[in-house]
């Protein structure tokens, strides 16, 4: 564990990307295969399925530290990270690491994963609190991290791939592709990952998604002339609606079907009607598209799709009430051959001919015809009516990129709705926002009352966050655990994408993707918006 603990420390102690890559390269070059595989697993943000519940860990922490539970809770709320809170409270010591000579894989497979096999909580407790009592600070912190969730040490999957590309001499996109989907972190995987030829590819493996960059300027949006200037001839661009669903990759290989989400989760079982439809596809076909709840030739609100997301095995009623489709917009594999390097125009032609045989749950995403930018802009005005987020613009000559490559795909979203709302509650954030009030609840007027309508976490710059944090501390009315109610006087302009009725919220409405646009210090709370003005925006 010593090598991995040192890698973690090095990554944590620098903000330089080059230094991080260098540290990972050094680790990968020295570590044995199984350790390499587990390191890739954790560094790329993957986490172990839950081993011990967080509330149980907190209880053990209170018992081990001999502190009252409320104080443990308050401390945790301030630190914002359970793994770190435990290490700070219990392992504040410099001692030799008893696990120093053990490999990462040996520890994870031998001591961590086997926690699940222990029959009784007290056996789990004994092992876990044993680590807390004996490990030095760094090792205790790291073991807790591995046990409780993602590593979060400022490296992304792309950065890990950069290091692996350096170690193997392979292009980074190849590494990124091999890291997609499901794999077992073991020596064989590590060997295949770094090999020139990785042998028979994993049947279910998806391709890395091509991501779009926003066309916008903060604040406000670009004029048509500016868009035209930035993108050039409209004829070079394929325009489509930008759907508000779940990005999905549908794979049909060797008579098997896999549907992957953008977050690389297998969601085949959640959407059996799409899986069924995929049986009509020829073997060796991979489609990129959007899962949408769809009825009577139009998308249903996102809340309908949410009913489906949480159900691993949807029942007949759910299937009937919230039918879904896959709106297909790209073709990545034809006859088992990766066609991502072909220009979009060519991929599109093949997609269209394939779509001629699509069963009814697979739809072809239509291409919007326009000979002038102004004509596209006009169609874009219909977005809200059509329940889409705006337009997608894809260069006709573009290959299907890995990740967000500027210039290949653009999203030209419509301006969001906005509302002026009053801050009611604040709560400290987690991780790098620990001990800083960054999670806010906002309300609008319903007669004489302020009713909460949204929580928002983002949109302020660091300076504003600091200023607001100080204000919150001085203007607290009441404390409810980590939450503070504040004087209802600060007004903020919130932006959101869509609004729908909701029975779960007191206000009766739910807004989608709320975020802070501006701190409107010039507005008095009485000038904030009303619930009625929000209801007027309901579709």
């Amino acid at each position: 564990m010593q090598r991995f603990t040192e890698l973690y420390r090095t990554l944590d102690q620098t903000t330089s990307t080059n230094a991080k890559v260098a540290a990972m390269v050094e680790y990968f070059e020295a570590a044995p295969g199984a350790d390499q595989a587990w390191a890739v697993y954790f560094l790329s943000g993957r986490r172990l399925r839950r081993l011990v519940g967080a509330s149980l860990l907190r209880q053990w922490l209170a018992e081990s530290s001999e502190l009252p539970e409320w104080l443990v809770e308050q401390t945790y709320a301030s630190v914002g990270d359970l793994a770190e809170t435990i290490a700070l409270l219990l392992a504040d010591r410099v001692v030799p690491d008893p696990f120093a000579s053990r490999g990462l894989a040996d520890f994870v497979e031998g001591d961590l994963l086997t926690l699940r096999g222990l029959e009784h909580d007290h056996a789990r407790r004994e092992r876990v609190t044993g680590w807390w009592q004996t490990l030095p600070y760094d090792a205790c912190h790291l073991v807790n991290k591995l046990m409780t969730g993602a590593l979060r040490v400022g490296v992304s999957q792309t950065l890990v791939a950069t290091a692996l590309a350096q170690v193997s001499g392979l292009p980074r996109p190849v590494i990124l592709h091999r890291l997609m989907g499901e794999w077992t972190p073991d020596a064989a995987f590590a060997a295949a990952l770094l090999a020139e030829d990785d042998g028979a590819a994993v049947l279910s493996r998806p391709y890395p998604y091509c991501l779009a960059s926003p066309i916008e300027r903060r604040p406000g949006e670009l004029s048509i002339d500016e868009v035209a200037e930035q993108l050039g001839d409209v004829a070079d661009w394929q325009a489509e609606w930008k759907w508000d669903g779940i990005r999905g990759q549908l794979i049909r290989r060797q008579s098997q079907t896999f549907l992957w989400s953008r977050g690389e989760e297998l969601i085949t079982g959640q959407f059996p009607e799409i899986a069924k439809a995929a049986e009509a596809l020829p073997d060796g076909t991979v489609l990129d598209g959007e899962v949408l709840a769809w009825q009577d030739g139009a998308p249903m609100p996102f809340s309908a799709l949410q009913r489906r997301i949480g159900r691993k095995k949807p029942g007949a009623k759910t299937l009937a009430d919230y039918p879904v489709i896959l709106r297909c917009y790209d073709l990545l594999e034809v006859g088992g051959v990766d066609v991502r390097e072909q220009p979009l125009a060519l991929r599109r032609a093949q997609l269209e001919s394939l779509a001629a045989t699509f069963p009814d749950r697979l739809h072809l995403s239509e291409v919007l015809e326009a000979t002038r930018w102004s004509a596209l802009a006009e169609q874009r005005q219909d977005s809200r009516e059509r329940a889409v987020e705006g337009l997608m613009l894809k260069h006709r000559e573009s290959h299907y990129g890995t990740g967000r490559k500027r210039g290949l795909w653009w999203k030209w979203k419509i301006e969001p709705h906005t509302v002026d709302a009053v801050m009611l509650y604040a709560q400290p954030g987690h991780g790098r926002r620990a001990n800083l009030y960054t999670d806010y609840t906002f309300a609008v007027w319903d007669g004489e009352l302020l009713v909460p309508i949204a929580k928002a976490y983002s949109g302020l710059d660091n300076q504003e966050i600091d200023e607001l944090d100080r204000w919150i501390r001085r203007n607290t009315r009441e404390r409810f655990g980590p939450v503070r109610s504040v004087e209802p006087v600060q007004v903020f302009e919130l932006a959101f994408e869509a609004i729908a009725r909701s029975t779960r919220h007191k206000s009766g409405i739910a807004v989608r993707f709320p975020r802070i646009r501006r701190w409107r210090k010039e507005l008095a709370p009485a000038e904030a918006d009303t619930l009625a003005s929000l209801e007027a925006l309901l579709p």
């Binding site: 944590d12 102690q13 620098t14 903000t15 330089s16 530290s65 502190l67 009252p68 409320w70 104080l71 308050q74 401390t75 301030s78 630190v79 914002g80 990270d81 770190e84 809170t85 700070l88 409270l89 504040d92 400022g154 987690h430 991780g431 790098r432 926002r433 620990a434 001990n435 800083l436 660091n462 600091d466 944090d469 100080r470 001085r474 404390r479």
Partner: protein, 315 residues
């Protein structure tokens, strides 16, 4: 806070010493710094630690708080009842100021900036060793090391703690230099300091530079090409506090009492009543009450100390 005729000053940090009083009383060692901050023309009476001062029907005395040079607790006695206001204090060793003195009292007004059990300080000499290791590693990589410290107190403590470990001179920001000279005049032994000269074009590769936190991200920083940055503060005990500001390194060094010191000090004073200010006041009060101590938060209005918020401006 309203201006008053007479102000008793615990120490010269900006949140504890403001302009506007007709007359000030302060511990002798803090007077030069106080003058530098409040102006040369102020009426300031210097007193020694422990020297009794009759004020109305009370007797007032100043006692070392161990926070920074010249910092004091203030003891007020009347009719056999004793109150002590701690001001900011710490119990840890500090070569730049007199150590904290335990003053028995009936009512103890304590700061609570770091009143959470995760705040426990490593020894300052250990931290100085870490700083030196970091500086030397950056030196080998040909990079400047920019260490952010509060200009008054922390910067001098770092310079003093480093003194036994190296002979190398340290570059300092103007705000740090001014106070450092006052410390030297008071006989505090520290590493040699050199000013960062605005006009001179020089390469700071391998040098250690001490600057106030407010200089982070400013134009002034541009001269330190490829610098690694560090921050010295009790808040650096928690990783999120460091990561959100993007410092490469955090060094846990505070001039405030940590959690064990707060609890020990309250017990040491023998106070039957405890009033808390700053930081996690509410937490400390709740814990003390659970332990049967008569405790309450003292509302003294909005105050911000040198470490009240993790990224306080330059003091």
């Amino acid at each position: 806070m309203r201006p008053s005729d007479l102000a008793l000053i615990t120490h010269a940090h900006a949140d504890h010493a403001r302009r506007g009083a007709t007359r000030y009383i302060a511990a002798r060692d803090s007077v030069p710094i106080l003058r530098q901050r409040l102006g040369e023309d102020q009426h300031i009476d210097a007193v020694d630690y422990g020297e009794p001062i009759p004020l109305g029907d009370t007797t007032v005395s100043f006692h070392s708080a161990g926070h920074v040079l010249g910092s004091a607790q203030i003891r007020v006695a009347r009719d056999g009842e004793v109150w002590v206001a701690s001001g900011d204090f710490k119990r840890d060793d500090d070569p730049t100021c007199a150590p904290f003195e335990v003053v028995p009292c009936d009512v103890f007004i304590t700061e609570a900036t770091f009143a959470l059990p995760v705040y426990r300080w490593p020894s300052a000499s250990e931290v100085a060793r870490e700083i030196l290791d970091w500086w030397q590693a950056n030196q080998r990589a040909g990079r400047p090391s920019v260490l952010f410290c509060y200009a008054f107190g922390k910067a001098q403590r770092v310079l003093a703690e480093l003194a036994p470990l190296t002979q190398q001179a340290v570059y300092v920001h103007g705000a740090v230099q001014t106070i450092t000279e006052l410390y030297r005049a008071a006989g505090v032994s520290m590493l040699e300091t050199l000013p960062v000269d605005g006009r001179e074009r020089r390469d700071y590769a391998g040098e250690l530079v001490i600057a106030p936190p407010g200089a982070a991200g400013s134009r002034w920083m541009r001269r330190f090409k490829g610098a690694q940055t560090g921050f010295c503060s009790g808040w650096m005990r928690v990783r999120g506090n460091r990561r959100r500001r993007g410092y490469d390194r955090g060094f846990v060094l505070s001039d405030h009492a940590d959690w064990p010191s707060l609890l020990a000090t309250i017990e040491d004073t023998g106070a039957s009543r405890v009033l808390t200010t700053h930081g996690h006041s509410d937490t400390l009060v709740r814990l003390l009450r659970e332990r049967g101590v008569d405790a309450a938060e003292l509302d003294i209005g909005p105050l911000e100390g040198d470490e009240d918020v993790a990224d306080a401006a330059v003091h």
